[in-house]
């Protein structure tokens, strides 16, 4: 048999049937992460792992919107906050269980995204970013000013944890399996979505709107759909956050958090499925390392973004592929 000389990228792609393998890889990564509570039997480390899973949902959903959908939103932390407050307030003020709060948070953030998306998504590029930034700012004002509902600047107190009857998920070890599972389900949903007809349409609209129009794709509806979907995911992250920490305060969901989330998508690798996991790990770990130097944290994130974007514009997740290409070009 003759072996045809082929472009390495092609062989690599052809050699791995991507349907099965990415799902399998995701499961492998997730089951590997399952050992964290056993290897580090220390509440602090497990609490960080819990935050990392929540941040994965947040950054992966923003990556779906930004990296695949081509819409740079500076309001993602706002949707995260809306989810947290919806779920938290339903519990604190209306006595509803966190299990009701979670889907309600997803639904109401999605609905808010639909209402805000209809006017805002007619804008493009910078204008879209500015409009979503404005939306985030409005939400923060509401979180601060609706003191009777949200607790205002002092934060929302008395949020109850997720619980199964009397068994409350009120410590880091008990919360771990829940956030682990929900993050896995969201990652699976994103992977599935990207492999679907509608997921391809989302990427097509982001890549070339004229081309997408020409094959009968309603660009506006497609953009709205991915905006609503990713806002709903941020709402899920918010609900997990509020019931895991049993507290929420407005500054967590500020415009600067939204900006940092965009930075994390870029550092991990915008438009890379695996990038957000790296982004979330950095986003969770770095502030802990630099606990005493709050300004240094921002500086470091800024610097990290510059370095990553200059050295590897495809982010951290793009480095292996770039290396592979470099080595493959060398004549054997």
């Amino acid at each position: 048999m003759t072996v045809l000389p082929m472009n390495t990228a092609v062989t690599a792609r052809a050699a791995r049937p991507w349907h099965l393998s990415d799902h399998a890889r995701l499961l492998i990564v997730w089951f590997a992460l399952l050992v964290i509570p056993f290897l580090a039997p220390n509440a602090y480390v497990v609490s960080l792992a819990n935050m990392m899973f929540i941040n994965i949902i947040l950054i992966a959903s923003l990556n779906l919107l930004m990296g695949y959908g081509g819409q740079i939103s500076l309001g993602h932390a706002g949707f995260y906050g809306l989810g947290a407050y919806v779920s938290g307030v339903l519990g604190v003020k209306f006595g509803l269980s966190a299990w009701v709060g979670l889907p309600a948070a997803a639904l109401i953030t999605g609905l808010a995204a639909l209402l805000i998306g209809i006017p805002v998504l007619r804008l493009r590029g910078l204008y879209l970013s500015m409009a979503t930034l404005g939306w985030n700012a409005i939400l923060v004002v509401l979180f601060n000013r609706l003191v009777d509902i949200t607790g205002g600047p002092n934060g929302l107190l008395g949020v109850r944890p997720f619980s199964f009857g009397d068994f409350a998920l009120d410590n880091d070890f008990r919360q771990f399996p829940l956030v682990w599972l929900v993050a896995l389900l969201v990652m699976l949903a994103i992977l599935n979505f990207l492999r679907s007809r509608i997921g391809r349409a989302v990427r097509a609209v982001a890549t070339n709107e004229l081309g997408a129009d020409a094959v009968g794709i309603d660009s506006f509806r497609t953009k709205l759909l991915v905006f609503v979907l990713t806002a709903g995911m941020a709402g899920i992250a918010g609900s997990l956050y509020v019931h895991v920490n049993q507290f929420a305060s407005p500054e967590t969901f500020s415009v600067s958090s939204s900006i940092l989330l965009v930075v994390m998508v870029a550092i991990g690798g915008s438009g890379s499925f695996w990038g957000p996991i790296l982004g979330a790990a950095i986003y969770t770990a770095v502030p802990q390392v630099l606990l005493d130097y709050e300004d240094a944290e921002l500086m470091l994130f800024g610097l990290a973004m510059l370095i990553v974007l200059i050295v590897s514009p495809t982010g951290l997740a793009g480095i292996p592929a770039a290396l592979r290409r470099r080595f493959a070009r060398r004549p054997a």
Partner: protein, 257 residues
Amino acid sequence: MSDSLLRVESLNCYFAGLRAVAELSFDVQPGEIKAVIGPNGAGKSTLFNMIAGVTRPTSGEIWFDGSRIDNLPTFRRARLGIARTFQNLQIFREMTVLENVMVGRHMQGQSSVMGALLYTPAMRAENRAMTETALDLLARFELDTKAQVLAGDLSFGQMKVLELARALASKPRLLLLDEPAAGLPQAEAEHIGQIITTLNRDGMTVLLVEHNMRMVMSLSHDILVLNNGLRIAEGDADHVRRHPDVLAAYLGDAEYA
């Protein structure tokens, strides 16, 4: 008359008072290849864009298979069965060749958002069917070996063929081709010409705008010649070739032989 696939009725288009297309009426019959030609600035592109839905006519009507389409957005026209290619290529460069053609079949899909998120058996079956159809189409155009290559890495000629394959993936009833041979060397232009002839033989109706005279003359059943936004001649290649107004409009154009 009434059984024409596309009907254009007293179409006008003005840009800031400048006439681009004036009082133009014509029909495209099912199964024919019709070409629109004319010197630069004749109004060909404006006409094409009005039919495709990119430019709004100032007045006049466009009918496709019994429905009026001049007020519909592009994607709605596509859903009625009008597919197009672009003079300057609008492919999805960051997606694979296979994915480009699969996106072309978007309209034929039924899968829902929920189905997509949950990766339901119905969604997977749809994906498999779309992959198969797309690969068949790529094989027809000898692009199947490039299926997993990023579309942006293809040669210009291959991109032109890919865009044609993407347009055909939706099984359109009318194919609008905006300068299908532009920028191609003669051999590749002839390849595209052969593809168009074969498609037409299988029943496809084609309306094309083209500069390449050799291609237009050999392919088209009917040729519409525009100059300054006005129709100056219409008919088969022989008729158009001898028409005095056409000769006058093209006088000095070396391409016209």
